[in-house]
């Protein structure tokens, strides 16, 4: 791992729309960052679908999850981990990821879980 593991790790396992879990994870990340506890974010399984570019939420009158994700660097949330297996599962290996994102395999995910102090899953 090129960056130290975060103390607080948020594991987000839901697609961005249709349920509020992904949004809750993101709001928790922003709130924790506002308290100087910038967490790490692990996009696991279905959670990688949050990273799809060119989301357009106008049609569904909901907050654009992708755009809010783009603001994470401004909140100093810079430890983003992306489940490589899930990307392959959805055929998204070639998808452009946020600059801070690191691809992680099962072993790297395990290291993250063990390295942090606290895990919250969404």
């Amino acid at each position: 791992m090129s960056t130290p593991t975060p103390r607080l790790l948020l594991v987000t396992r839901s697609a961005p729309y249709g349920a509020s879990l992904a949004r809750s994870a993101l709001d928790t990340a922003l709130a924790a960052a506002a308290f100087d506890r910038a967490p790490g974010l692990l996009f696991l399984g279905e959670g990688v679908l949050q990273l799809l570019p060119a989301q357009d939420a106008a049609a569904s009158q909901t907050r654009n999850h992708g755009k809010v994700l783009d603001s994470l660097p401004l909140y100093d949330v810079s430890q983003l981990y992306v489940d490589a297996t899930a990307l392959t599962h959805y055929g998204l290996q070639a998808m452009a990821l946020p600059a801070a994102a690191q691809l992680v395999d099962a072993a790297a995910i395990r290291a993250l879980l063990e390295g942090c102090e606290q895990i919250l899953s969404f």
Partner: protein, 97 residues
């Protein structure tokens, strides 16, 4: 060492993610719909047991679901005090649901 709590049924991604991250020294507490993996003879439970020897099931949920009388060998029922004790024993906890 991580305490995993699994409250999703065996056919879910949550179950698969839990299984993928489960290691021998971890503990796994089955609760909610996760208790179906504790059924004796369930391949799901056997897969979990292969990964980790410390399998527990929340007794109330197992009774509710009707699986309490058919628990696989090696699955230990615990009450809420037992859950708390597990939380104290393992520094990290992750919820799969």
């Amino acid at each position: 060492m991580i305490l995993h709590t699994l409250s999703a049924a065996p056919d879910t991604p949550a179950f698969q993610h839990c299984l993928a991250q489960l290691q021998a020294a971890d503990a796994l507490l089955l609760m909610g719909n996760g208790v179906y993996a504790a059924l004796v003879g369930a391949p799901a439970g056997q897969a979990l047991g292969k990964a980790c020897a410390n399998l527990y099931v929340l007794d109330d949920d197992a009774r509710t679901a009707g699986v309490a009388a058919q628990l696989g060998a090696g699955v230990t029922p615990v009450d809420f005090d037992g859950f708390v004790a597990l939380s104290e024993r393992y520094q990290r906890q992750i919820a799969w649901y």
